[in-house]
Symmetry: C2
DNA sequence: TAGTGATTGTGTTCACATTCACAAGCTACA
DNA sequence: TGTAGCTTGTGAATGTGAACACAATCACTA
């Protein structure tokens, strides 16, 4: 019962994703290995959770030493089927859309923005970041020809349902939306909404009820 | 063991927050009551989860009818100590900061942006949304005089650690950051990072491994 | 080569959360 | 008033993940 046999718990999957970026940081700092204790501290989880998580994708560490950072990143990405760049399109080049397009890091993290759309004539033709803004009229056709896997919907709330429908029709089944109210989408389309209000409310709640988080592992 | 006695499970707390916005939508649609089945459908959870969650904050529904939407929202907000507006400051008036400041909905959701800061002289003095951008030099002093409870850090990555430190020094203990790499903060400060890469990676993973989500409650 | 200190890997235990199933209670209507 | 149809509220069962504790293993040093 080791190495990728059996099934990986859902929570572990979620955490595996969240390890990736800290590991990148550790790698950039020049560390060759990282211990479960270190990584746990960065991610604010229990070290034994880290070890168990990694045990689900195979025994990757060396006792007494830790985990080889580079190998670890590789293994996680393999386990999460996150090998090739994910092809992304941004719909809506307002403040948020622009921020995304100008964000330089996506390239390093396995994402590639391949197209941007807007319906406003003065924006169409502009070059923002690495792409040139296209007319939203061509949305469906272009999503298909660019083999887009994920669409970021950053349009005004009123337009969102229409855009979402068209994206669904084009066969894209991952949508990241900045419109918090639920978009009615077919079952085969996964939608994640970025809801800052929600995060902020939770944050303040937890700050108020400051429950002491204990982390330790054995000798704490 | 009813009505606010005992303790509320963590997962329930999280969900209570996530019910708020859908309930607002239902309210705006003109519905007076909502059933656990309806709300569960919107939130993609099991109806019995909804009922149990609400049972932790008291018996709020009427059998055969459902829950009074307005009362429900009130009760949830009370339970989450989310009665008064949360006072927010935005640091960094770039694309993201501007998007936040111009976002009209916060006011309706219990948030009030009371200040914005930037270090660039040409931005200081501009009015964006409801506030006038102030010089970041006065940050600590102004955070205190405005009794800011939560700071949104939307500055370039390189400046983030410094801003975070100053925010911490000013006594604010909730920070929402758009800088994904962990900010080193004292223990009494809660930081939530908005990490789009993380969300996108999860989204694509779940779209690929399309596991059929079942929801039903008894008769499905 | 033996000893020391550190760290992983994991079986077991425990705590927590979800689901189920059904009684209790409401509305509507004849 | 009585009946039918919903919907809530909740005890009990089930499922799942987290924490723990410790054996196994490695590097390093004398």
């Amino acid at each position: 019962m080791s190495v990728g046999s059996g099934h990986i718990p859902n929570e572990t999957i979620d955490r595996l994703f969240s390890y990736l970026r800290p590991l990148m940081c550790v790698l950039n700092r020049g560390s060759v290995t990282v211990s479960s204790r270190e990584l746990a501290e960065i991610c604010t989880v229990n070290p034994s959770v880290v070890r168990k998580d990694f045990s689900y994708i195979g025994s990757l560490g060396t006792r007494g030493v830790g985990y080889n950072v580079r190998e670890l990143i590789e293994s996680i990405r393999r386990a999460l089927k996150f090998d090739n760049d994910i092809r992304i399109a941004v719909v809506g080049v307002g403040n948020i859309g622009r921020a995304l397009l100008e964000h330089p890091r996506f390239g390093f993290e396995g994402f590639k923005i391949v197209a941007a759309f807007d319906s406003s004539p003065e924006k169409v033709g502009q070059t923002v970041g690495q792409v040139t803004v296209e007319d939203a009229a061509d949305l469906e056709k272009r999503l298909q020809s660019e083999a887009v896997q994920l669409v970021i919907v950053a349009v005004p709330e009123i337009c969102a349902p229409d855009v979402a429908r068209r994206v669904g029709d084009a066969g894209v089944n991952s949508v990241l939306s900045f419109t918090p109210c639920g978009l009615a989408m077919p079952d085969n389309v996964n939608v994640t909404s970025v809801d800052l209000s929600l995060e902020m409310a939770r944050l303040v709640y937890h700050s108020c009820s400051q429950e002491g988080l204990r982390i330790g592992d054995g000798a704490a």
